[in-house]
Every structure is written in C-alpha cells, then in structure tokens.
Amino acid sequence: MKRYLEIYWIMLRNSLIREMSFKANFILWMAVELLWFLGQIVFIEVLFQYVDRLGDWTKWEVVLLIGTHQLIGQLFQAFFYANVANLPELVRTGKLDFMLLLPVDSQFAVSTRQFGLDNVVNALVGVGIVIFALGKMHVVPGPWQIAMYIPAVALGVAVHYSIMFALATMSFWIVRAQGLIYGYYNLFNIARYPDSIFGRGVFRFVFSWIIPVIVVANVPARLLGRIFDNPWPLLAHLLGAAVLAVGLSRALWRFALRRYSSASS
C-alpha cells in the first residue's frame, strides 16, 4: 500500500509538471468545463420559472445537487478520466503490453498515470455552488452531515470510475471505442437530475442498481441538504452500488485481460 502511494505521488508530480508547461491549454480547458456548468445552471433557472418544485426538490436543492454532481464528476476527471479514456488506444496499438509488464497491479497502472489539475479547480467551483445553495436554503449542515457527505462523494467518484472503466474495457472486443466515451457522457447526463423525476418504474431500477448513476450525486446531496431525513438507507444504497460497481468492473478487467492477444507483435 505504501509503495503504491509513493508511486502515485511521483506520477502526480510528473503530470503537474507536464500540465504547467501548457498553461494556455490549462486555462482553456477550465473555461470549457465552466461553460458547461453555467449552461446547466441556466437550464435549472429556466425550468424553475415554470415550477416551484420537482417532486420533493426545491430549486436550491436542485442547485445543490448540480453542484455536488459537478464536484464528483470533476474529481473523477481529475484522477481518472484521461487515463481510462486512453485505454482503448492502448489496446488498439498494443502499448498495453508495457503497462502489463510493470511490477504493479495492471488496473492501477492504466488508471493513474495522468492527473488533471484544471478539474480540481472546477471541482472547487462545485463546492462553491454547494455552499451558495446551502446558504439560499438556510441550511447549516452539522459536523455529522459533512462527515457523511465526504465519503459519499468519494463513493460517487468510485461509481463514475467503475462505469467508465467497464465501458473502456469493452475495447478489448470492439476495436474503435470512441463510442464508449460518448456512452459515459450520455449515462451520466441523467445523474444530475433529481431522483424524484424517475418515478418507480424499470428505468429507475436499472439506473439505481444495475448502472447506478442516479444515486451518485443524489445521495450525497440528500445527505447534506436534508438534515431531518434518515441518512442510513441512502448511504447503504450508495455503498452497496459502489461496491458492486467496483467489483464487477474489476472482474470484467481480469476477464478481458485473459483474452488480450496484443496488437502488432
């Protein structure tokens, strides 16, 4: 474990050095993400011109949800996105061989090489929006709520990672896998919607248990914003979903590796 932390620290430093040598690009990427985020806020602003609440969610609770989704999504992007998105390319060109030869766990090796600093800044914007929304709601979360919110956010990042990783692993079977990255964005498109809109049907079941994107941001947002709700069932659901997603994606990775035959060698 200590060894992995040391390795990670070195890779983190390397990618920060690399990132700082392309400053203009760094700022532009930040601008891109901010624009998308602003668009979402405008979307909510327009919707709530017509209604006061969506199910049991008020406007500022939805803003809290979107801020939380931003925080989780950007943390995932900071730590994992570029690496996982690159996996299909590694498989296609056969460069994965070098990763497999490294004396560390193969999933660790392919998942942690690059780190996105611009995403950390955008994650902080998400935190700012969360605090702002809490202020508008006149809710002051106690130490308990915060103590549950932080691990819930981490579990959300784990779900993001596992789903995208499982999608990228498909590249062992499907050669061109840009469609998979597109799939990630499409799946998480619904993660920022309040859970109350999904009703009680099959759709909700699939996306809260099998591909659990609905719980990713909704559970942390509820934990932080609803002081009087019972937190344990929510937390248990998110924990269960995260454990399942991580376990299944890991199993899929091992299965895929077994049939990897490398390219051009």
């Binding site: 624009l35 668009g39 327009v46 209604v51 061109r176 840009q178 469609g179 597109y182 799939g183 619904i190």
Partner: protein
C-alpha cells in the same frame, strides 16, 4: 464527369463507417438515455404545473425532443472536424493538394455519407420511439411546410458543417484545436435548442437568438416543421438562415485558402 468522383468518395465514406458498426450501435443505444431523462424531467414538470409551458404541453414537448434526436442524427457532424484537423496536423493534406479534387467538396461528400449512415442505423430505435409516442406525433398540414422544413433543414446541416470545417481549419495555425471546438460546441448545445425549445426562454434572449446563428442550426427548422413560425417571421427567418449559410460558407472557403498558404506539410 466531375460529380462522379465525389459520388465515389461518398461511397468510400459509407464503407469506411460501416466497418465500425458496433461503434454506431453503442452510440444510438446510449444516445437514448439522455432523451429518456429529458422526457422524465418534463413529465415531472407538467405534472407539477398542471398547465402548459410557453405554448407546449407534455405531448408537444416530447414530440419536440424526438425531433431534435432525429435532426441531430441527420445533420450534426460527429467526427468530421477531428478528422480534418488530423489531416492537417499529420501532414496528410499534402496528398489532397495534388489531387484534382476540391477538399471542401471531398469533405462534404464524406459528411453526407456519414450522416446518411448514421440516420439509417439509428432509424430503428428512433422509429420504435416514435411509434411508442405515436399519440404525440403532429405532422405538418400542408405540402409547403414539408418543403420549407426540408430546405431549412438542409441549410442547417450545411451551416453546421461549414462551422465545423472552419474550426478545423484552425489546425493550420495551432496544434490543439479541441478546446476551441468544445467552447463553441457548448454554445451550440445550449443555444441551438438541444436542451430545451428556445421559445421557453426569457423574451430578451429570444431577440438575440433570432440574430445569432445557433438557432438556425437546429431549432429553426424544427419550428418550421411544427408550424410554430408562420408568415412574415417564417420568411425573415429563412432569409437570416440563408445569410448565415453564405457567411459560414465564405468562412470555410477563406480559412482553407489562407490555411494552405500557411501549411507546413509535416512529415512529408
């Protein structure tokens, strides 16, 4: 005949894309998830509100979003700008410059074949959806509306293509164009009617949007089809759209001419 070679390019484009049919299938399946989310959020809004939203009820709203998905597949370029930028960056443009072929024409043929194939592949899920929501479908009453929406849709597709093409031309001057593409793309996404029909936005914004090109990339042809714009508004809208078509075409044309002069033919 000169047209013949462009038809051949169209055919090659079809074959090239069909190799990656899995990619397509995934795209069309995953593409339905956000649509489902949109339908559900509007269901919830209309349930809460018990009244219409700027002239839309639940049915016409769902029909609007079904049309956006169909139009998106028909006309929105997906990988064209990246391929063009890669041609420039990696020096493959040299091969085109010596061919007796117009690069814009070549790209336009490829774009047309991609769009055709996308539409065909995604037709089945979309047709299934439209059938599922068949009670919500409202077709234009007159033949003229069909004709004008087809014209407007074609112009919208060309505007989108010329914008993507012009942006890709930036690769003649700078290495990394993806940030610029994504910045413009986020404006297109929110202001062309992807996220919601533009007529539910506040009035002052709608005035600005009538002048800007974004609504003519998607929202306007759909409004024509839905017969939401009529009379004087329809004709002035078509006129503005034609202007944008000319401007974006001119931009694409000039960017290429200037770019080629700047071209360094990397690796060649």
């Amino acid at each position: 005949m000169t047209l013949g070679k462009y038809i051949k390019v169209f055919d090659i484009g079809l074959q090239n894309t069909f190799v990656y049919r899995w990619n397509f299938l995934m795209r069309s399946v995953f593409g339905l998830v956000p649509l489902a989310g949109t339908v559900l959020i509007w269901r919830s809004i209309f349930h809460e509100r018990q009244a219409d939203v700027a002239g839309y009820d639940y049915r016409s709203m769902v029909w609007y979003f079904l049309l956006t998905v169909l139009v998106d597949n028909l006309i929105t370029p997906t990988e064209d700008e990246w391929q063009i930028a890669a041609d420039i960056r990696e020096g493959q443009m040299s091969a085109f410059l010596v061919k007796p072929m117009n690069y814009l024409g070549y790209r336009l043929s490829l774009y047309a074949s991609y769009r055709l194939l996308y539409t065909v592949v995604t037709l089945l899920p979309i047709a299934a959806l439209i059938w599922y929501f068949r009670g919500f479908v409202v077709l234009p009453s007159g033949g003229l509306t069909w004709l004008l929406s087809a014209v407007s849709l074609t112009m919208a597709g060309l505007i989108q293509f010329f914008i993507a093409y012009s942006l890709a031309m930036l690769a003649f001057w700078i290495l990394e164009i993806s940030t610029i593409v994504f910045i413009l793309y986020s404006f297109e996404y929110f202001l062309s009617g992807h996220t919601f029909p533009l007529d539910i936005m506040p009035g002052w914004l709608q005035g600005a949007l009538r002048i800007l090109p974004f609504s003519y990339e998607m929202f306007f042809p759909i409004s024509v089809f839905l017969e939401k714009v009529k009379g004087e508004q329809l004709w002035s809208g078509l006129a503005i759209q034609t202007c944008w078509l000319l401007i974006t075409w001119l931009a694409a044309f000039t960017m290429f001419r200037r770019g080629v002069r700047h071209y360094q033919a990397v690796g060649g």
